[in-house]
């Protein structure tokens, strides 16, 4: 039932992403254009030009939602999210260093920079938050993430202040965009996401057993630390790859798993496939909304997800405080 609703929403969101923009088309026109891509109508040309962007949205949304769900489960922390935990900031700094200091131009090498940045930031935040006797509580993680993100932002700014070209490239990257300049640039990140998904599927049953408590899980033959490490590695791969193609898109990894958990409970084996459907719904909806909300310009997807995500986050917080 939930799957059906999500598939329906996803079809709607993907359809809207193809139909709306500076020029809008009716559902019939979109379907015609998809069935006869070689037709010489306006609709066929514009709709097919929107396909790569929509596919990109599917990939990024799925990866971010899954990464968020894995991190929340692995850290037993409902507020874990790649953006809030400084991982996107780590990617951003690594990308700026990559563009600037080493003159990296190829997308392949930038992916690796974003990934390494994401991994280093994830390890640092997690390590620092776990060090106190209280363990990695939501507050400690959020603050460690905020502190690290701010420190890295300072360094990023220092680099950008000295190069106008870098600033010009970076300011458009950092608001997030699903636009694809050439389809080949999505291939490597998509492969990384696939590896991340495999790791996630591998870790999901173990994560569910960890939900019973580390001792019970260990007596069932699960290695708690090995499962957590696999899950975090998957989350870093997924969010790092998503950040490489779309820039830092915040709040997706937080909001989607939370909403799904309200509906189906917190079993990872159920959540993993549902995140793959729910993430793209939010990202495509935010992206499409951003295209039509302020014509003739566009509000970038990273800004839209923040503007949609922040209120949801606040509502969740209020509900948690009441419970």
């Amino acid at each position: 039932m939930v799957v059906l609703v999500l598939v329906l929403l996803l079809v709607l969101a993907a359809g809207a992403s193809l139909a709306f923009g500076t020029k809008a088309f009716s559902a019939q026109e979109v379907i015609d254009a998809l069935r006869h891509p070689d037709a010489t109508t306006d609709a066929a040309a514009v709709v097919s030009s929107r396909i790569p962007r929509t596919v990109n949205g599917l990939l990024v949304g799925a990866a971010l939602a899954l990464a968020g769900s894995l991190m929340q489960s692995a850290t037993r922390n409902p507020l874990a999210e790649p953006g809030l935990l400084g991982i996107s900031g780590g990617s951003a700094l690594a990308v700026v260093i990559g563009i600037g200091a080493f003159g990296v131009a190829g997308v392949g090498s930038l992916s690796w920079f974003a990934l390494v940045g994401a991994a280093v930031a994830a390890l640092l935040v997690q390590g620092i938050a776990m060090r106190g006797p209280g363990g990695a509580s939501p507050l400690r993680l959020a603050l460690a993430g905020a502190a690290l993100a701010a420190g890295m932002a300072s360094v990023t700014q220092a680099i950008l202040l000295h190069s106008q070209e870098q600033l010009d490239a970076f300011r458009f990257w950092q608001v997030g965009s699903l636009a694809v300049r050439e389809p080949s640039q999505v291939i490597l990140p998509a492969l990384l996401m696939a590896v991340g998904l495999l790791l996630a599927l591998f870790a999901a049953p173990g994560l569910d057993r960890l939900g019973l408590g580390d001792d019970v899980a260990a007596s069932l033959g699960t290695h708690p630390s090995r499962v957590r490490l696999t899950a975090i590695a998957a989350a870093v791969l997924l969010s790092g790859a998503a950040t490489t193609v779309a820039g830092p898109v915040v709040f997706v990894g937080l909001v989607v798993p939370h909403v799904l958990r309200l509906v189906v409970g917190s079993r990872q084996r159920v959540l993993v496939p549902l995140c793959l459907l729910g993430g793209p719904v939010l990202v495509l909806a935010a992206d499409t909304l951003g295209r039509v909300v302020a014509p003739p310009g566009e509000v970038p997807v990273g800004v839209m997800t923040a503007l949609v995500g922040a209120p949801v986050f606040l509502i969740l917080l209020r509900m948690r405080g009441r419970a």
Partner: protein, 337 residues
């Protein structure tokens, strides 16, 4: 009777020593800042310029370039530090400073909006910063009130609102030409070297009023700090006091941010640092002095240490130092979680 008296005397002596040290460090850093530059000024020259004498290029450099930087460091450092101390004491959490909980982002988002979208400058920007900071302060207070864990939820709401405001600022940066975006980024990093004399006069004036108000609410704040029971015994005054402290703290952040930009982490660091220096007894006056010392020293280092002709904006340095400081504080913190 004699023991409390000697303890009080020891505390006073320690506080006196701390104040003396901070003043000396600040004076030393400030005079070094006045002396160094493309043309190095001798102590006699500086004194001559400050008393209205001196001549030519050196006088111009000191009066238009180095002295405004020192004075805005002093004023902004004090304002940010006291603002941080107010929030940290109100929420009884050393990590709840206005820059972490989004109030600073309110001021900077409003200012960047006024600067880039409306083309405003001067007093209008100060007003915008003020409205932005107070609006965010009110929003997170409204979000967090009426539930358990006031402090925790206030911080988390602030971080979420801050993230959304950062997204707005990033959006505004893409809506302008790259040179204006560069200027805005420079402002967003926080810099004490672009302030004019009228701006500094306005900052000094508003600071006098706000610090007087702070001294007025400080005794009530001390009662709130004693715990929820004491706060309850204050009755309805406690609510009014909380709102007053949030508005005052937000206003202090706003007047500083409007002139020097959102200098990262000064408001976070100053009060805990001052408390440690005083041996565990916080005092907002020493906090103000600590903030001043921090910014004056950071400005001296960032202007000269890196050997760049233009120097780095001081905000880069306070941001990096602050991140390291906050992370250390987090990994040492025992009681809170």
């Amino acid at each position: 009777m004699s023991r409390p008296v000697t303890t009080m005397t020891r505390v006073r002596t320690r506080a006196g020593g701390v104040v003396l040290c901070l003043v000396l460090i600040t004076l030393l850093a400030a005079s070094t800042r006045l002396a160094l530059g493309t043309r190095i000024a001798a102590p006699g020259d500086i004194l001559a310029v400050l008393t209205g004498g001196g001549r030519g290029a050196l006088r111009f450099m000191i009066l238009q370039d180095r002295l405004p930087a020192v004075i805005s460091s002093v004023l902004a450092g004090a304002a940010l530090a006291v603002s941080g101390g107010l929030f940290q004491r109100l929420l009884r959490n050393p990590l709840a400073s206005p820059d972490v909980i989004g109030v600073g982002y309110g001021a900077s988002a409003a200012t960047v909006f006024g600067m880039l979208s409306l083309g405003l400058s001067g007093w209008w920007l100060t007003g915008f910063a003020l409205v932005g900071a107070i609006a965010v302060g009110a929003a997170i207070l409204a979000m967090a009130l009426g539930g358990r864990d006031l402090g925790t939820r206030l911080i988390l709401s602030g971080i979420a609102i801050g993230a959304a405001l950062v997204a707005v600022v990033n959006l505004l940066l893409t809506r302008t030409d790259v040179r204006t975006a560069g200027d805005a980024l420079h402002w967003l990093t926080g810099s004490v070297t672009d302030s004019s004399w009228p701006q500094l006069a306005a900052l000094a004036g508003s600071l006098v009023v706000l610090l007087a108000l702070t001294a007025w609410v400080a005794p009530g704040l001390a009662l709130l700090e004693l715990g929820d029971d004491t706060a309850r015994s204050l009755g309805r005054r406690a609510g009014a006091l909380r709102v007053g402290v949030v508005v005052l703290g937000a206003a202090l952040t706003a007047v500083a941010v409007a002139v020097v930009g959102p200098l990262a982490f000064v408001s976070l660091m100053a009060h805990p640092l001052a408390t440690r220096l005083l041996g565990g007894r916080g005092n907002l006056a020493v906090t103000a002095l600590t903030g001043t010392t921090l910014v004056v020293v950071a400005d001296l280092i960032s202007a000269h240490l890196f050997g760049l002709s233009s120097g780095l904006p001081v905000g880069v340095l306070t941001g990096v130092i602050g991140a390291v400081f906050l992370l250390t504080l987090l990994s040492r913190e025992r009681s809170r979680a």
